[in-house]
């Protein structure tokens, strides 16, 4: 479903991705982890064509996502890091979820009954139906994350890219969003790529852990074989010190 072959990308002379190759199959649930600056966000953005690699190639649904950007992005959901709703924009929760249908619908066509039905279904699924008419900018961080998830669900997507969506949330919200993502994975049979730093909160359904370090693939692990030793090597931290922080890490 997603084929990444020898992809490299530099910004201002600094190499962010170097010779990355990954094959992500249908219904894979991949966690991408790694230190800050390892290239995790850049990798996600190359998948949906927001960033064009300098070398190598990316194929999604057997299409080049830069040349077929609009078509490919219609089937890929993306929730960005720090994507919080500005208070100055006068949009209700429903308005924001409807944005998910805008790209699907295309230009010169208004959203119709079918679109609004998808929007209501998505809001119902993530449990924000009661917030429908509330100004989106005034919601809590956890509620705003649910709005973003509903927006992407309303689009009828095949792939969901999540970039550190648990950041700036309290532990209860982190657990709630994780469990929501797990439910969505099971129910919609999506392919999910989940970038995170919060190793203690990796969803149970994860099928692979891909670790990036210095723009390269450090390791592609099956969750059952990923442990504290791998983690200490990935982050260059003493294993004992790391255990104090993330616990005895073993999935």
């Amino acid at each position: 479903m997603i084929k990444i072959q020898k992809v490299g990308k530099s910004f201002s002379g600094k190499e962010i991705l170097s010779d990355i190759s990954l094959n992500i199959k249908k219904q894979d649930f991949v966690a991408i982890i790694g230190p800050n600056g390892a290239g995790k966000t850049t990798l996600l953005k190359t998948i949906n064509g927001l960033i064009v690699p300098d070398t190598g190639k990316v194929e999604v649904f057997d299409l080049n996502p830069y040349k077929n950007g609009l078509a490919v992005r219609k089937k890929i959901g993306f929730i960005f890091q720090n994507e919080f709703i500005a208070k100055n924009v006068p949009l209700s929760v429903k308005d924001v979820v409807c944005i998910g249908r805008v790209g699907v619908k295309g230009l010169f066509k208004n959203l119709d009954r079918e679109d609004f039905a998808s929007v209501s279904k998505a809001m119902d699924e993530v449990g924000i139906m009661n917030l429908e008419n509330r100004p989106a900018g005034f919601l809590s961080g956890g509620e705003q994350r649910k709005v973003s998830i509903a927006r992407e669900l309303a689009r009828d997507i095949d792939i969901l890219l999540l970039d550190e969506i648990l950041m700036n949330l309290d532990p209860a919200s982190q657990m709630e969003i994780n469990s929501l993502i797990s439910d969505i994975y099971k129910k919609h049979k999506l392919t999910i790529v989940f970038v995170t730093h919060l190793l203690r909160y990796l969803p149970e359904e994860i099928t692979r852990i891909v670790a990036l370090k210095d723009g390269k693939v450090f390791g592609d692990f099956s969750p059952e074989y990923f442990n504290s030793k791998d983690l200490s090597e990935l982050y260059d931290i003493n294993e004992e010190s790391l255990k104090k922080y993330v616990g005895n890490f073993k999935l």
Partner: protein
């Protein structure tokens, strides 16, 4: 008092006021929600620079003003993207450039410079019928764009990156919003003047935003406040023989203050 309505110049001023209220009311919502309020100042000074260059080289200063301000509004988006800087920074750079060009041109012109300064001060009572037709055409274009691309514009207001990743042609929408804003601002310079137009661009949508969390209502209130400011300004200017542009801006500021008080009372 009513006989004033029979004069052509006053009819033109009246129509110009309504068109300014509608056009600036709509593009004002765009620049406020895109958080690029200084685009008005940059574009009006680009028009000023254009008119100065026109006078210097013997070309129609109004045409040069339109060309310069449209160029400025077209260039903001691509330069911001190419440089990786925010649109607001590029607006500041364009503002300083056109100001430099305008002052350089003023220093080199030996004859009268009144036509160039008219764009800075504005003179609503000298609007011609052709001004009105052109303004009406561009205002119509803005309304059509808003109706046709309303849902895409909403997505761009929310988050440009999300809009792009949702399969929306956000660059086309964003650049079109900048271009149309530049066009409306430039064509209303005769009505309000380059310095004061900033107030009519920002005050009505800001007052509207304070009173509502609904985008459609924000457009409606912004247009209403824009038209009210312009018509009241024109009326007071006629009754008390005071400058119309300045009065329009003071009234739009008063509307903003009243909205602020009303919101305080409603506890929102």
């Amino acid at each position: 008092m009513w006989e004033i309505l029979s004069y052509n110049y006053f009819q033109n001023a009246l129509m110009g006021s309504i068109l300014a209220g509608v056009g600036l009311g709509i593009v004002g919502v765009w620049v406020v929600l895109l958080r690029i309020p200084f685009v008005g100042v940059a574009i009006s000074h680009a028009a000023f620079a254009g008119s100065v260059i026109g006078l210097l080289f013997g070309v129609n200063p109004i045409i040069m003003a339109i060309v310069f301000s449209l160029l400025a509004s077209i260039l903001i988006g691509p330069i911001a993207e190419k440089s990786g800087l925010e649109a607001n920074v590029i607006i500041g750079i364009i503002f300083s450039l056109v100001l430099g060009v305008a002052f350089l041109g003023l220093g080199l012109i030996s004859g009268p410079k009144t036509e160039a300064f008219n764009l800075i001060w504005g003179s609503i009572l000298t609007l011609s019928r052709s001004n009105i037709y052109i303004n009406a055409g561009v205002t119509f274009l803005v309304i059509v764009f808003l109706i046709v691309f309303g849902k895409e514009i909403k997505a761009v207001f929310y988050n440009r990156e999300v809009a792009m990743s949702s399969g929306i042609p956000e660059k086309f929408i964003f650049y079109s919003l900048l271009f149309l804003s530049g066009f409306v601002i430039c064509l209303n310079l005769n009505t309000i003047g380059g310095i004061l137009i900033f107030g009519l661009l920002i005050n009505p949508p800001s007052a509207a935003r304070i009173l509502t969390h609904n985008l459609s209502k924000m457009y409606f209130l912004s247009i209403l406040f824009g038209i009210t400011s312009c018509l009241c300004g024109l009326l007071f200017s006629y009754l008390f023989a005071v400058p119309a542009g300045a009065t329009i801006i003071i009234i739009s500021s008063l509307i903003f203050i009243i909205s602020l008080v009303l919101r305080g009372r409603n506890g929102r």
